[in-house]
């Protein structure tokens, strides 16, 4: 069972609240949900919608067509038929009823007059619609209790509830879906998962400059700054944000910054500084479509080539692209240990799809996680901050003991951090970076294999495309194809033989990416020599879904 509910209207008409209530109620009733926000770069007006896909098992990807649409205004109503599944229906206020649309069988008109009689809420329609949806899905009236917000007054909450209850009464009782109650699940989005992963890893300092779709990370962290004993600082610009994170990290605190493409672009010089000064730094780039301002609130996977080579000169770095909301937590946790082990910058590459996807997932397990710092504990009178023989570990920072002095430097330097122009030191520094890259390659996670063992086609994806591709692979195999997939969360650096075990004769290799330039496909070709027979791309600012992949596959 998989159903999708869509709430469509203008910014400011209550889409977010309705989505929040609905996904929370469904989750509490034991459904798995995955919601996604599809919104314009504006504060009020425009055409926005949220989708909530629910099922009795983990929901991997959103659907682009809905079973139920809650249309909050005329534009939404007009666009609804195109976004509706065959058997679906639309909920709309009877005040939008015109001769043109009246005939449409799949519209359930909610009469405003009786509704107004029971509820004075300005959101009466959407609350009522939620009631209808719950009844339709066969839930108990009890579930409506989730329709409250602490920050609202008792009165507002009551009148909303009245509208919901009214909606619940509008339909005949429905057949109940069998759901096994999921106890240990949480409902969390990608930005929150990154923030939580960072805090689990001991984050102490976060600085950022607001930028969609990454702002959710700092907003979440700032709200918990006091409770968690963090310092969260809004910087004057992205350069300051990353430099401040480096300043904190070089003084022993786990530190991070987050941004989106344009902000990341401004951080590029500092990225190289973190690398050459060997300061463990974690940067999250929540991708949105570029170039430049691009589409501020949409999604794309088109910053990979950029982040993999960003900054002048040559150094070791790690790029991780979480596959799912759940993975975002564990991968972010891992990022800090890797950064501190190899003393390199680690870039976490998510995107608006992941950032604005709220998903029911297993509660994060922290008992198995360990913060590893790789510090040098012994006092050093002449501390070799940049020992050329050390591939990992051995770090000290000011104040770790009361004797050692630490020099952090942005030039080519000798082992103590004194700037030098010596040829041999210059070479040694390169060799150290190269050794680190080899170490990192051996430590990173192999791609996840999924699908038919006797595959004729191997679909390769990275990052957030995972969910849609997984659903597509399942569907294709169900339809009699023999396909499998490889999903990379650890996208850089790449071992030359990473694909070797998966390549067999007569197997087609297809890369599936949310960009037009086949960025990961090209990186794989560069690093492994493997060429693709076909590519499946999406680059209209909207996320992949399974049916799009299936269609492209069949073409």
């Amino acid at each position: 069972m998989k159903k999708t509910i869509m709430i469509a209207g203008a910014a400011g008409e209550g889409i977010n609240t309705s989505e929040l209530f609905l996904e929370r109620m469904l989750k509490r009733e034991g459904f798995f949900v995955l919601s996604y926000k599809n919104y314009m770069s504006r504060v009020r007006g425009g055409f926005n919608y949220a989708t909530i896909t629910l099922g009795t098992e983990m929901v991997n990807s959103c659907e682009d067509r809905a079973d139920i649409i809650i249309a909050l205004n005329q534009e939404a109503l007009d666009k609804s038929p195109m976004m509706l599944k065959k058997e679906g229906f639309i909920l709309a206020s009877d005040q939008l009823k015109t001769d043109a649309v009246e005939a449409h069988k799949s519209i359930l008109w909610i009469e405003q007059e009786p509704l107004k009689a029971v509820s004075s809420s300005k959101n009466a329609f959407s609350m009522c619609a939620i009631g209808v949806v719950l009844k339709k899905l066969g839930l108990e009236q009890e579930a409506l209790k989730g329709m409250t917000l602490k920050k609202w007054s008792e009165e507002v909450n009551q009148t909303n509830l009245a509208a919901g209850t009214y909606g619940f009464s509008l339909l005949e009782s429905q057949i109940k879906t069998e759901i096994t109650h999921q106890k240990e699940t949480i409902l969390v989005n990608g930005n929150q998962a990154v923030a939580l992963g960072a805090m689990a890893s001991g984050l102490g300092f976060y600085s950022a400059y607001p930028m969609a779709p990454s702002t959710g990370i700092i907003t979440y962290l700032a709200a918990h700054e006091r409770e968690m004993g963090l310092i969260v600082e809004q910087a004057e610009d992205e350069i300051a944000a990353i430099m401040a994170a480096i300043g904190a990290a070089s003084n022993g605190v786990r530190a991070m910054t987050g941004t989106s493409g344009g902000g990341f672009a401004l951080m590029v010089e500092a990225l190289g500084f973190a690398a050459v000064s060997e300061v463990p730094l974690v940067v999250c780039n929540v991708q949105r479509p570029g170039p430049a301002t691009g589409l501020p609130t949409r999604t794309e996977q088109a910053d990979l080539s950029f982040v993999v080579t960003a900054s002048q000169g040559e150094f070791a770095r790690i790029v991780l692209a979480p596959l799912t909301v759940e993975d975002a937590f564990y991968t972010t946790f891992r990022a800090f240990n890797l950064a501190e082990k190899y003393q390199v910058p680690v870039i976490i590459l998510t995107d608006q799809l992941l950032a604005d996807s709220t998903q029911t997932i297993s509660k994060f397990k922290t008992s198995g996680l360990k913060i590893e710092r790789y510090l040098m504990e012994e006092v050093q009178t002449h501390y070799k901050r940049y020992d050329f023989d050390q591939t990992f570990g051995g770090r000290k920072y000011p104040g770790l003991d009361d004797q050692t002095l630490v020099m952090t430097d942005s030039h080519v330097h000798d082992e103590y951090g004194n700037e030098t122009e010596d040829e041999q030191m210059t070479i040694k520094l390169k060799h150290k970076f190269i050794r680190r890259i080899e170490g990192i390659k051996n430590e990173l996670n192999a791609p996840i294999f999924y699908g038919s063992e006797s595959y004729k086609t191997l679909l390769i994806c990275w990052g957030s495309t995972f969910g849609a591709l997984k659903d597509a692979v399942n569907a294709l195999n169900d339809q009699g194809e023999s396909v499998a997939m490889l999903a990379f969360s650890d996208v850089f650096p790449i071992k030359e033989d990473v694909l070797k075990v998966y390549l067999k004769e007569n197997v087609n290799v297809i890369n599936v990416e949310g960009n037009a330039f086949n960025q990961f496909g090209k990186i794989l070709r560069m690093e492994t020599g493997v060429t693709f027979t076909k590519s499946i791309n999406k680059y209209d600012g909207r996320p992949f879904n399974a049916s799009y992949i299936i269609e492209a596959y069949r073409k």
Partner: protein, 288 residues
Amino acid sequence: MTKIETINNPFVMNHPTSWCPGCGNFSILESINETLNDLGLTPQEVLMVSGIGQAAKLPHYIHAHGLNSLHGRALPVVMGAHAANHNLRIILTSGDGDTYGEGGNHFIHGIRRNMDIVHIVHDNQIYGLTKGQGSPTTAFGQKTRLQVDGMRPDPLNPVALAISMDCSFVARSFSGDPEHLKSMIKAAMAHKGYALIDVLQPCISFNEVNTFKWYKERVYKLDPSFDATDRVKAFEKALEFGDEGIPMGILYKNEKATFIERIAHIDEPLVYKKRTPDDVQKLLEQFD
């Protein structure tokens, strides 16, 4: 400064500098060394931070913790360092181009935060390391290696700018008067909050106008009766520069809560806080 003081001073390093013989930077370095020693600090308690430039090489020449960052970016790196460990005494020492040019945005917003640090600007009114281009403080019309017909933009007055931003401590000194300079560094170290010292520093290689003599003939010490707490008066005084004389001393002072004091929940430095993965469990309950 006597030889004996130098020898017993743990901050003094016997590292050759790459500064030009006769440069004003030497006296700034010595003044910092001596002041730190006079205050009874140990090298382990001090973090010297800089950007990139001739002045910015200073952290390499002093025996303390050091952080030689990027051109223009010393202030934000200081912000992170200070947030991480406010027990460290941070001295930021960098050039006029570094601070007011490339780093201008961090300068104005750094002031707003009022971190408890000392910021010494080696203001030689020129770009030294890149061999003689005009800096933000180079006078209008002054000819340089790049501006062969003279500077076209108006110069920036750093102390007036800082006062307009309500910087909590604004002073001016001169590398050619080390006693005065040391007294300013001492006052800045004693001040709780962001303390800016714009130090006039002759560059003998590239600034032929603002020489030692030029400064010497113009600087004068503020009258002891000068009220440094009156922002408007301070502004008026700060505008004085050039042939009309250059006031030296503390131009403005406004004690207010520091960066760390403004973060109510921070007491011990962040770096000492123990954290475990389980810390997030209490947050996860809110995602039900």
